[in-house]
Symmetry: C2
Subunit: 255 residues, 2 copies
DNA sequence: TATCATTTGTTCGTATGTATC
DNA sequence: CGATACATACGAACAAATGAT
């Protein structure tokens, strides 16, 4: 029944019955309108919030912020430019705070993607944001100790920009290739706090794995967490010109 | 308070206090354990479900299905191979049903990405699934009428595999380039039905835009919606070798 | 500055429906 | 069939934020 109410209100928003920017009738009014209890209305409002259609504020009311099916306003380009032999250029990110450096034991997705379960790594945490909208994102760089051993300058100053990390890896003799894995999930409570997610917006999560092209050996892992309600990641796909004789097999996913 | 309970249980799961596969104490028991009411426990369980830690089934109980921080089991490769001049090869997808062809008016993200607001397009709906896990995904191809006009064979049989669409566009004289936009949101009620999302898992959404490289004119839009709890998209990033806009080129960077 | 009505946020207790075993 | 457990809904109370008086 709560779902039916949510669908009804969503349809009304889509039809223009409720305009964007307008405040919906109060919950008490909706109870009367649909002849249901408070819990039902609140469940329905929760669905509408997660769908990104409305935004509620205590003491004010529920405002329509979208009619659904819109493109997220913040575009995060995931492109890599190589200008010279070891000169890399990445889309800029504005840092909200000074990066935090720590030493961690690799676990979860970074460990799987790097193939280094329970190994140690240097991790650099950054809070970045989009200057136009103020959207905050969490960025984390994992530098395995085995990688740092081959590029000693990395271990000394791991908080340098990512493009410089790529440069140092290139100077260390590696030929870099990049793979990115994207997924999403509901944020943990502490992530809601640090990213300022007032709603129950999902979290868009991407892992960029930098590997040595020849050895196919993972060298670096970068994690980016962004609120999916306001962000979209953009990739440029380059067709690979593979010979038709043999199919290059990707690693099968079975964890 | 509900959040605190959720954090406590999540910590217990992460610490191994509750093992994966095990059933949690019943909601009634938890009310006693934490000294809270039913609504609080249910809110907490809802958070744990969205985080992908537990799965609840009516009449059975709440089962732990993950300790958090795991890699989604289904990897969806988003790669494009070009074998010959107009011979394309894409990762295979298993169709669950026969494709449904309809004519729609472009709206929302597809319209924005194609730059064709309110124009008509042929849309081909497919329900695909991963044979190993049975995960269902919704795939939709938008062929603008303006594109169909230049590749007439497309309009006659739009339900051909995507690789064949690329082939026909190449034969029509286009030089194809691809861009992909990824975001996520909570599923709509009808999407929960059709995709079989028993939980409140977010929906991972990606739009692949096929454009003509020279004219930078969008030709085609493919939409893929997959349950984020079990899926990750994988991209291969190719560094672009762009000439520096300010730095003068001293050497001919042939590579 | 203080007060008050309005509105959402959170929790509680209870009841009923429904799937599982 | 019956006991158990989750799903859904109702009614009530209080807290907290907001905006106007």
């Amino acid at each position: 029944m709560a779902t039916q109410v949510a669908e009804k209100v969503a349809a009304d928003i889509k039809r223009g019955r409720y305009q964007v920017g307008e405040t919906l009738p109060s919950e008490a009014q909706m109870e009367q309108m649909y002849g249901v209890g408070k819990a039902t209305i609140r469940t329905a409002m929760g669905e509408l919030k997660r769908m990104g259609l409305i935004e509620t504020r205590q003491g004010k009311g529920s405002m329509v912020i979208s009619t659904g099916g819109t493109v997220p306003p913040v575009t995060i380009p995931r492109a890599i430019q190589q200008r010279g032999k070891g000169s890399w250029f990445l889309p800029e990110m504005t840092e909200a705070e000074a990066p935090a450096i720590s030493r961690t034991s690799l676990d979860g997705p970074p460990a799987v993607h790097l193939g280094q379960q329970d190994q140690d790594a240097i991790s650099v945490d950054r809070m970045v944001y989009d200057p136009k909208t103020g959207t905050r994102m969490a960025h984390r760089t994992f530098i395995p100790l085995s990688t740092a051993a081959e590029a000693p300058s990395l271990a000394e100053a791991p908080e340098v920009p990512t493009s410089e990390i790529y440069e140092q890896l290139t100077q260390a003799g590696f030929s870099l290739s990049f793979t990115e894995h994207v997924t999403a999930r509901a944020p943990f409570p502490d992530e809601r706090m640090s990213l300022g997610l007032d709603e129950a917006s999902p979290l868009l999560i991407t892992y960029r794995i930098t590997a040595d092209a020849e050895q196919e050996r993972p060298l670096l892992c970068e994690e980016l967490r962004a609120p999916a309600a306001t962000c979209q990641l953009t990739f440029s796909l380059t067709p690979t010109k593979a010979p038709a004789k043999r199919t290059p097999r990707r690693r099968s996913a079975s964890e």
